[in-house]
Symmetry: C2
Amino acid sequence: MQKHLRLEDLQGYDRFTRANLINSLSGFKSASLIGTVNKNGEANLAIFSNIVHIGADPAFVGFLNRPLEAAPHTLSNIQETGSYTINHITAGIFPQAHQSSAKYPADISEFDAVGLTPLYREGILAPFVAESHVQYSLEVKQIITIELNGTFFVIGAIQEIFYPEEIQEEDGFLALEHAGSLCSLGTSAYYKTKRLGKLAYAKR
Amino acid sequence: MQKHLRLEDLQGYDRFTRANLINSLSGFKSASLIGTVNKNGEANLAIFSNIVHIGADPAFVGFLNRPLEAAPHTLSNIQETGSYTINHITAGIFPQAHQSSAKYPADISEFDAVGLTPLYREGILAPFVAESHVQYSLEVKQIITIELNGTFFVIGAIQEIFYPEEIQEEDGFLALEHAGSLCSLGTSAYYKTKRLGKLAYAKR
């Protein structure tokens, strides 16, 4: 049976039901952990899934950061240091990754709180997640404030990339399912994937 | 074996290999078709995967549109009419959905060209994809030009939502795997999903 909701129906939902519906409606997302440090070198780790490819040359990736009162630390650390890492979430760590969304004070490292291992690499300020199999570092290029609702669209330039060599196909494509990378849905559900097909570049 | 790429390694890749690598690196995405019409009512359909949840109240969704020379019609139609629909891609239609990424002239409807059915609903200018099981309509709120590379971040307000009633869980969440919604990776690969877990709201 098809359900049809209008804007006024949505407004009749309680806040949590509405958020669960709308968060899942826009589809499967890239389940990722963003690692940062503040100017004192204190580490922060937070889960993000609203991540988009912006361009390949230069290589730009964007993510959506919630309003400051809901999610302050990742954004302020990026503003302070310019540096962040994005780390894919695997089946082995999704409960810990999810737990990083709890509200910890700025002086608590979510790495310690949830039991994941910060991995520092020479020349890169922000920590990676050692348990993640696909990791990349970025330098922030632009932070766009979305005045409509106080969120932020953060654009970074990819600097260094780490992944298991064997997942890369001849055309450059990374078969992330072989690295165990998950996708997420809404704010609570985690999924593994199974490839149905990989199609050639579409021509008329 | 872990592979480590630096910016200068990326610059040594040919254009296609680099694009395949970077497009897949940012992870699984929401495989969707966006339906629009121009001011003469001519329909357009195009595949998009870089879709983000921006907020639940008001309900805003954003998508990334490539530079105008690569992807002109969806954006110009949205500018002309303000209206668009987002339709999830299922296993039954992913080859047709993929084919919509070919470069058709403005006067050709991709619905006809790829063999999908436009579904017009009262009060909504843009057509839905009849074969899609989860569909929603939007009114554009803001189009942000990303000067860094000439792409556009298009933000819309959700107006009406259609989905199979039986996929909705008690908390409002839509179990999209039961509607057959796929995710995509890079510009070419399509995946079904299998849930590993749905976790409670994380508390300290």
